[in-house]
Symmetry: D2
Subunit: 351 residues, 4 copies
Amino acid sequence: MEYTIFGESHGPAIGVTLTGVPAGVELDLAAMEFELSRRATGKNKLSTARKEADQAEILSGLFEGKTTGTPLTLIIRNTDQHSKDYSQLKTLPRPSHGDYTGSVRYAGCSDYRGGGHFSGRLTAPLVAAGAIAKQILAQKGIFVGAHISAVAGIHDAVPDPTRDQRELLRQVAQKDFPAIDDQIGERMQQAILAAREEQDSVGGTIRCMVCGLNAGAGTPDVDENAEGIFARHLFAVPAVKGLEFGAGFALADMRGSQANDPFYMDDGTVRTRTNHSGGINGGITNGMPVVFTVVIRPTPSIAREQDTVDLSTGQNAKLSIQGRHDPCIVHRAVPVIEAAAALATCQLLGI
Amino acid sequence: MEYTIFGESHGPAIGVTLTGVPAGVELDLAAMEFELSRRATGKNKLSTARKEADQAEILSGLFEGKTTGTPLTLIIRNTDQHSKDYSQLKTLPRPSHGDYTGSVRYAGCSDYRGGGHFSGRLTAPLVAAGAIAKQILAQKGIFVGAHISAVAGIHDAVPDPTRDQRELLRQVAQKDFPAIDDQIGERMQQAILAAREEQDSVGGTIRCMVCGLNAGAGTPDVDENAEGIFARHLFAVPAVKGLEFGAGFALADMRGSQANDPFYMDDGTVRTRTNHSGGINGGITNGMPVVFTVVIRPTPSIAREQDTVDLSTGQNAKLSIQGRHDPCIVHRAVPVIEAAAALATCQLLGI
Amino acid sequence: MEYTIFGESHGPAIGVTLTGVPAGVELDLAAMEFELSRRATGKNKLSTARKEADQAEILSGLFEGKTTGTPLTLIIRNTDQHSKDYSQLKTLPRPSHGDYTGSVRYAGCSDYRGGGHFSGRLTAPLVAAGAIAKQILAQKGIFVGAHISAVAGIHDAVPDPTRDQRELLRQVAQKDFPAIDDQIGERMQQAILAAREEQDSVGGTIRCMVCGLNAGAGTPDVDENAEGIFARHLFAVPAVKGLEFGAGFALADMRGSQANDPFYMDDGTVRTRTNHSGGINGGITNGMPVVFTVVIRPTPSIAREQDTVDLSTGQNAKLSIQGRHDPCIVHRAVPVIEAAAALATCQLLGI
Amino acid sequence: MEYTIFGESHGPAIGVTLTGVPAGVELDLAAMEFELSRRATGKNKLSTARKEADQAEILSGLFEGKTTGTPLTLIIRNTDQHSKDYSQLKTLPRPSHGDYTGSVRYAGCSDYRGGGHFSGRLTAPLVAAGAIAKQILAQKGIFVGAHISAVAGIHDAVPDPTRDQRELLRQVAQKDFPAIDDQIGERMQQAILAAREEQDSVGGTIRCMVCGLNAGAGTPDVDENAEGIFARHLFAVPAVKGLEFGAGFALADMRGSQANDPFYMDDGTVRTRTNHSGGINGGITNGMPVVFTVVIRPTPSIAREQDTVDLSTGQNAKLSIQGRHDPCIVHRAVPVIEAAAALATCQLLGI
């Protein structure tokens, strides 16, 4: 299953074209809408006021409620477009956003309105595609779930990575603010509001688990190793600047005797007592949950005045971004990371 | 330029097949041998006594000293093979190694001797391929270099990520132990020796920089975004369990106002005052050095007795790994990470 | 530039998603509509009465009249759908059509109405994508044109394959029936009408030329050789059952001394006196026009009663296809072959 | 399963790197040697005197006689090299060979000796790879076989394309001159000898059948349709200038009522009474034998003096090719076409 995300924030529509979808999957469109609603803005006081309808229309690849196996294209019309808000982006690129690099890459022809093809809005079709992937995986007993593991230096509870945590993560997915520990979640939200007060933004991390995968998926080779496959999909999510499996960067400070996950037999199944490897050895799944963490950078669009350059004059300039912007996107990114992980898992399994 | 690494640790040969090599590149074979020697074992007291000759033979794609543009295959014959050392690996998989997962993935048919295709030895052809990539990049003024940024919790000096550090990193590449600060390097080596004394191993991190890249390489899309391209090549390096760009996971604790890299004009060129983004915005290079860090797990092969399972009996078992093993591979992995990064940079530039 | 054609004949829409479109190409939408009109039915007495509007809407990748370089999705809504006409296709597959194989391939879930994803209607978005490719090529002085070389055993005039025939083929493209020799074209049309009278259909061949290509595009290797690249795109056109370059199958009866194309210098340029090789040697263009011919099978949908099987009962059955069907699609396929060739040429040139 | 053919005719070695080989296939190396011997020259009076040993050495991916599933590289050392014979190729390109185009494509750096990477010798590793593919397919009951269908205008007998012809084609494969009808084969050989007498060469066609394929492999889409997959592999074989499936170009002269293959039930299986479609409808196999024909151009290397250009002076020139050359390669190409078809079939089946 491969996908192409298309569209610009203020163009006619955004969407995704999926190829290699297995035939005969009964799509639960309500479940897809639920995933889109998890990503949607306007849900609570943390988000921007801009309301996105995100009504997905499936144009192809679906017949009598089931996937046909032929390419599936899904679109979401853009409706709430205030193009005039963004006119200064053409000449004054926002720091750490794609405005400047997009202008260079696309020879000044990219659609700069609202970030264009670089907009976080493009994650909506990704979530829709991920919803399809999740339904395919569910038929094989595989679950993908995530939670906010940190925001603004405040860390959520850590679920035991050697256990199948689908019950816990299903509950988390129902929350408006998907942290495991609600008290910690409340503190995270306070930190986000504080940042907004100061015309600033915060970042965080998301921990994701893929439960129910058998041992033996992946290879040690480039383009086939399990970690590389997850990385391929995850680094395409805007704002992701890092990815680690299992104990990840903490392995740098560990001894081999701590870091190694000892094998044992559990009722006929090979398992490991710890899961510092994140369910992957030698690029191949080992039957334990696949666990990884991504870092989501603080939203680069902040209200504070910032230094930038004026591309039309070649001079230094000041930028004040108008309009409302999310002071944090970590909570909204949770279903996006799940979607990317679900699509990665399908690829890993040759779906 | 694409590559396939082939071979098993105790098979006839290991090697690499490269396609899409530009025609007419005069290959400096001595430079390639130098890169292989940086990776080679047996160089100092930190490494195993096993001596690897690593004589590379180019079988195709080279004519009168220049690349022909047709597929280039390079092999390294395996000469120092003590297959009997490894017989127990067939049934007693080493924790956190690819023995068990490889056995499942390849239906019990993988070559288990010395780790087979999972062996760290397979990084030798990767280094050779990377040496070719480096020479191609050098013609375009692009340099790829790295250093040990941490071992066993001891951290090296941090070079200014907003500057072209090729002079510094070229000096580091000449060292037997490639840390920037030799005193810190000495402490790292002591920590490694201490781990070996205790029949254990340590991990660390490697920081890599790509200098001389213009703005505008990459796209925000899957398979084309700069971060994803680096990830694709880096996660195929054994022992890499995490990857972060710029400030990476530290971004989780930063405010947007800190994390954003303000633009300024520097003698007609757009630059950023900080480089927390690691030279990439929106999946596209911004003209600043590309900076990333990978974590290298502690060597899973340790002398201490470990818990494992016996795949032939389905019972829990104990494993004592015989022979000498590296208590740390971080220093040897530095040229490997550079090689993967050089190959990634070629892909990013459409080479 | 890669493309995915999506849609089903009687679904909400058909379309194409293009990636890798160069940024900054001013799209001539009228030229695209002209190409679509060349393919459209309902134009003359030869075609079915069903009128296809084929209004293309570009959803993404276009801004202020120019391509943005980001993925471009174009859709054509399906409007004229008589789904009840096709209900028998579910159980009675049409001989030599994709009904039976699609049913097997897609586990009985393919959209059988009007041929679904197998419908010739899916060539409309291909033509639209090809129109974009043609405009990109035109900027480089490259022209792609074709003509009906044979229908029902009646052969059109053969243009000199050693010459740039763009003027001739531009004129042909303006015709309702795109043969070079109008008298021959008239005889072809008579043959088509005669077949329809007899509730039958006819096939033919299309000769295509790519003019203005420099020497040196392609390689001898799989996936990169020029012939293979054209084949990749052309065999995806429904009804194409054969492809030959230059003299093609006639080479089987020639001596080497006849078949070889002697080189000569023409005002500083290497050219060949004949072009039996179709402009390609060793998988690489030689600077002469690329010339190839495809065979288009007779339309499998004919009014005559045919033998088939009933997939619901597993019994032999008779099939009488209702509705009007094209007795020949060769003339409508001319712009489709051009489109596929234009997309192939872009790939060949690394666009 | 993907493959990269590497090497130059007069370099150290030629070979192939295969990825995605299923694990656990017991390789019959004698069968591989037999396939190589079918391709080898020096077997009868028709071929050049140059003897090619073609001893294949498998460097990786094989352990204890079985494939490991990891990349398999196989090399054949070049031993019989008379490089001085070819020195004039550097400046005087042979008509209709890759000398000129290779020189342009590879910026004058290609290895011109003996055709270098363009040499027909490169089909030896293709045959070896195909032998592995054949053994994998045989385990699934699938057979790939071919015969010379025409040489110099003389046509072999045509086997019934609706029947599994593996018995017949197995016998043909044992022959020195693989035509079905030995008397016709004798006449073909006479024609070849006559051409050689006249310092000329002849071409021909090869018909190939894939027997035992189930219905349902392939899709109508680019890169997935069965015809395109065969084309991808076949057009990478040097000297192939055309490819047709089933009745192929003869379909141009047929009516739909003749061309259509009526379905019928045969003991519970859907079959067709004729096989003009070559076993493929809508890009998907229909369960009948896949049948296709390729045209092999006359060997471009002929002893007669030919017109060419001198690339060093930019003047017209005369070329007399020294040394012995095959007056026909069609009979030697039969196992090459089978190999390419076997590799294509593996791809079609997702192997």
